[in-house]
């Protein structure tokens, strides 16, 4: 107790925990302002809504831990969704189509990995390129038309739940637990952190930076494929439109979660909470009936404030 009390007085305590503190603060404010906010129904809805962003943020977190960035993540999700839609339309059934979505995501991840790890192209530019490429491919293969998908499995995925936890957020939670396990309890995760912290030293100790980089972009692509499933389930169709919002939000969630963009410091819980925070923010603003025009302003201010806080983190 006392230890915590002491901690609280230090600014770095606030900085390390910007995301959970921000989340708690938001919850308190919204709970006071809106009676609906803390109802079970709304919490359930919020969690389901957060699932896609949580999964993307986890993928992004692996990439950012190595000091990279994946700008193609939401375009990859779109591409995966179209892959699912086409496979399903062709009669492949749910499971095979899901596989196609994930493979499509892995494909873009592979291209990113090859460009960045083997081709030594700057992450920013490589993924900016694949953003365009994935978008173009999604448009071309779908002929620019949304593909309506009606599948029992998808219906179960969207509407099923255990208590207040809908299946999407349960899937996201399972992924988060696995991600945490791999990041902090296996050699692979340690090597991801080492490459992000100091690539030269990692290489001198026999770690293959090339393989690690390949792996994180594959993870991010694969998770974008999984997110594509939830996306198709949620909107009931595979659409070739890009969801730019998801890209910026996935990065914001990771940074709000206390991960430095320079790499080397891994976090999984932080980005998950960051994603929840961003979702709660839009949810609360919607509940309060705040005009659409003020919402980007509010999101921007929260991001900037959280970033100002995180800078007091201990090195």
């Amino acid at each position: 107790m006392q230890a915590i009390g002491q901690n609280v007085r230090q600014i770095s305590f606030w900085a390390e925990n910007a995301a959970p503190i921000g989340l708690v603060a938001l919850v308190i404010v919204f709970a006071i302002l809106s009676p609906t906010f803390l109802t079970l129904g709304n919490i359930r809805a919020m969690l389901v809504a957060a699932a896609i962003l949580v999964i993307l943020a986890i993928g992004q977190s692996f990439v950012i831990t190595t000091g990279g960035i994946d700008l193609s993540i939401s375009a990859t999700m779109t591409f995966g969704a179209i892959g699912f839609g086409l496979a399903f339309q062709a009669g492949a059934g749910f499971w095979l189509s899901a596989l196609v979505a994930i493979v499509a995501g892995l494909l873009i991840g592979l291209i990113n990995g090859l460009l960045i790890a083997k081709g030594k192209v700057t992450d920013f530019i490589a993924t900016l390129g694949t953003l365009s490429v994935a978008t173009g491919l999604a448009l071309i293969v779908s002929n620019g038309k949304p593909i309506t998908v009606t599948s029992d499995e998808l219906l179960i995925l969207t509407s099923g739940s255990l208590g207040i936890f809908g299946y999407p957020i349960i899937l996201a939670a399972v992924i988060a637990v696995l991600a945490w396990f791999f990041m902090f309890r296996t050699r692979f995760g340690l090597h991801v952190q080492a490459v992000g912290g100091n690539e030269e030293s990692a290489v001198a100790n026999g770690i293959s930076a090339t393989r690690i980089r390949m792996a994180v972009y594959l993870i991010s692509g694969g998770l974008a494929g999984v997110a594509a499933l939830l996306l198709v389930a949620r909107v009931g169709a595979a659409e070739p439109a890009i969801n730019t919002q998801f890209l910026l939000n996935s990065i914001a969630a990771v940074v709000l979660g206390g991960v430095s963009l320079t790499g080397g410091k891994a976090k999984i819980v932080g980005p998950v909470i960051g994603a929840l925070l961003l979702t709660a923010l839009t949810n609360g603003l919607t509940l309060l009936g705040v005009s659409q025009f003020y919402q980007p302003l509010a999101v921007g201010l929260v991001v900037v404030l959280a970033a100002l806080l995180t800078r007091f983190q201990k090195k």
Partner: protein, 267 residues
């Protein structure tokens, strides 16, 4: 005394008795270029069992490049490395380490954001369990790292603290303890005391002697002649990408070494 630059000193003239099998390591005619820079132009050198071999030379002579070739970071463009009588090529730093060559790099090769024990076992972590769910054996690794560090550091840092928080001397201690702790045949140290104070330097020199006494061959790169004269049994001199001379330490002097380095004396 060697007949020419880059002669392959199978039988070293000044001892007359050294046999090939006494060499634990023999690198012959190593070449390595980076783009247009010829860092090594056909350098040869040897290390003997249970001895401290010093490698000296001016800035940019190619010492660190040679070290990187021996420790598997660079792959030589040409030339051969014979370890313990066996021709070897190292695909990776791990390959070299598996063959018993440990290195303390000039840059220390530590990851600042990882803890001491994580750095200690970086690249060869101990795990338990099976398949993709093999987990790190944190307990064992922490204990081992703590144990090995105790022999070396003046103020032993806790093994769970991040390297970022350590002082320069403590970092050097971690890097050296890591290299010394694996019961290897050869330990290479690239300027291990360049930035160290008196106390720390003394400790490191102690470790080097201990290693030698336990039968490990040590390759020491240093700009400090006193240190070289004090510690080493044999000295190799590099100049402009070539090994230009070798001496038994007891048969040479600081002045001669300077002359060899600068090229004032031919070989």
């Amino acid at each position: 005394m060697t007949d020419k630059y880059n002669s392959v000193p199978d039988v070293s003239p000044h001892t007359g008795t050294t046999q090939a099998r006494d060499f634990i390591l023999r690198a012959t005619d190593i070449k390595k270029s980076f783009g247009g820079v010829h860092a090594l132009k056909g350098a040869s050198m040897t290390m003997r069992r249970g001895e401290i071999t010093a490698l000296i030379g001016d800035n940019g002579a190619g010492k660190s490049t040679m070290v990187r070739c021996l420790s598997g970071i660079h792959r030589p463009d040409s030339g051969s490395i014979v370890l313990d009588g066996e021709d070897v090529t190292f695909e990776s730093p791990n390959a070299a380490r598996e063959r018993g060559i440990e290195t303390v790099h000039q840059t220390l090769a530590l990851v600042e954001d990882l803890s001491v024990w994580q750095n200690f076992f970086l690249g060869r972590e101990k795990t338990h369990g099976f398949g993709p769910f093999r987990t790190l054996d944190r307990k064992v690794m922490k204990a081992t790292a703590g144990e090995l560090l105790k022999n070396l550091a003046v103020n032993v840092p806790p093994v769970t603290s991040k390297v970022r928080r350590l002082s320069g001397g403590q970092r050097q201690a971690v890097a050296i303890a890591r290299a010394a702790g694996w019961g290897s045949k050869i330990v290479i140290m690239d300027e291990p005391t360049a930035a160290l104070g008196v106390q720390e330097t003394a400790r490191v020199e102690g470790v080097i002697n201990t290693l030698r006494d336990s039968g490990v061959a040590v390759l020491l790169i240093s700009h400090n002649f006193d240190q070289v004269m004090r510690l080493s049994d044999h000295v190799w001199v590099m100049r402009a990408g070539m090994a230009v001379a070798e001496r038994r330490t007891e048969e040479t002097s600081g002045d001669e070494l300077v002359a060899l380095i600068t090229g004032a004396k031919a070989a």
